[in-house]
């Protein structure tokens, strides 16, 4: 149990995917202009990561490994995730139009995103078992959501700040992200 908890905290705080591994930056900078959108996005990413990592783990360990096809990992994962997200979009659209209106636009953005691909890849390269795999995926997703929401809150304040002309927009966002990342570095001694 303790080991799973360590893995979880590690994925959320210490090895935060955005701030220490730099994954999912496109969404991170693109969506964090607006707090509500960030919350929705964080939620969507967490669920897509969890579900697609489970699928990818099953595919890898029950199909690719027994048949010696591990070199096809990249291709199969990408195709799997893209088609899974597409399927999810169709299902949500049919089942719950309200949810679709809230999330629909994010789903396509997620389909080809580094963070969604990297969690399954890291999980299989680290040889996690099934439970570890789920814990790792949920932790990574929540870590992403946490960073995104923190960043969005900071950027909403930034709109009222007097930023030098050249730093406006993406550059200042990077510097704020640097400071956030500095704060997250403080967690590294925790475990």
């Amino acid at each position: 149990m303790g080991a799973y908890f360590t893995l979880f905290i590690g994925a959320v705080l210490i090895n935060n995917f955005v701030l220490t591994k730099f994954l999912g930056l496109c969404i991170f900078f693109g969506v964090s202009k607006n707090l509500n959108a960030s919350i929705g996005m964080g939620f969507a990413v967490t669920s897509v990561i969890t579900l697609s990592t489970i699928l990818a783990w099953l595919l890898y360990n029950f199909i690719l490994v027994p048949f010696g096809l591990t070199f096809l990992r990249t291709i199969t994962f990408v195709v799997l995730i893209a088609s899974f997200v597409q399927l999810l979009e169709i299902v949500i659209k049919k089942m719950s139009p309200t949810l679709y209106n809230m999330w629909g636009i994010y789903l396509m953005l997620i389909a080809t995103n580094c963070i969604v691909l990297s969690v399954p890849v890291l999980s299989v390269t680290n040889n996690y078992n099934f439970i570890q795999n789920i814990v790792f995926a949920v932790g990574s997703g929540l870590g992403f959501a946490l960073a995104l929401i923190l960043m969005a809150s900071a950027r909403e304040k930034l709109d009222y700040a007097d930023v030098p002309e050249a730093l406006k927009g993406t550059p200042i966002a990077f510097i704020v992200a640097g400071m956030l990342s500095l704060a997250f570095l403080g967690f590294s001694g925790m475990l």
Partner: protein, 206 residues
């Protein structure tokens, strides 16, 4: 647009990294040393150019509705080739780049060029666009990694530059330094582009 212009626009005016701000992850993650940064740059250069060529050759046979999955499969195939190549000839580099090499598949810049250029233009234009964009990306990776390795570690290509008395500024090698450095670099390039435009406008008035 002249062919020369197609090639050169990717280097500065539409630099995929600093100006278009696409595929940001690798520039932060693998630029702690020049060798890693350069390998990543060259990988992307190769992938983007060959993918542009392949997509522009098959562009007329692809059904519009499934074009994105087709592009992604193309990219994934090319990336797997590069992975196998590096695994065989440079296992240390392959290990250093780790998961980021897999992630070349989902770099927005590669898909964006396939969609906006290669699916509409002939092989020559697509090839030159890929070369230009790849070059711009490689230059960006090179510049960032030079600064980070020089100040974060006091070395260039692993050779000590400042002598033993230099105290490395560790922050440059750590994630926060990477974020801030890129923020300032983007701002600098923005200013430079702007002053160039101003000069051009003044020139046309006179």
């Amino acid at each position: 647009m002249s062919l020369w212009k197609v090639f050169t626009r990717g280097i500065i005016e539409e630099n995929p990294y600093f100006v278009l701000a696409l595929s940001l992850c690798p520039g932060l993650a693998v630029t702690t040393s020049v060798v890693n940064g350069l390998t990543m740059g060259l990988t992307v250069w190769f992938v983007i150019t060959s993918n542009n060529v392949v997509v522009s050759i098959i562009r007329k046979t692809i059904n519009k509705k499934v074009r994105v999955p087709v592009y992604i499969t193309c990219i994934a195939t090319i990336v797997t080739c590069v992975q196998l190549f590096l695994m065989a000839y440079a296992p240390d580099l392959y290990k250093a780049l780790g998961v980021y090499l897999d992630l070349v598949v989902v770099f927005a810049i590669i898909l964006a060029r396939a969609e906006s250029i290669a699916s509409k233009n002939g092989v020559v234009v697509s090839f030159l666009d890929g070369m230009g964009m790849g070059m711009g990306f490689t230059i960006a990776m090179f510049v960032i990694s030079v600064v980070r390795e020089l100040f974060g570690n006091g070395t260039l290509f692993g050779v000590s530059m400042f002598g033993a008395s230099y105290q490395p500024a560790l922050i440059m090698a750590l994630p926060p330094g990477a974020f801030m450095l890129i923020g300032f670099m983007m701002a600098g390039l923005k200013m430079w582009n702007k002053s160039r435009e101003m000069k051009k406008m003044k020139g046309s008035e006179a």
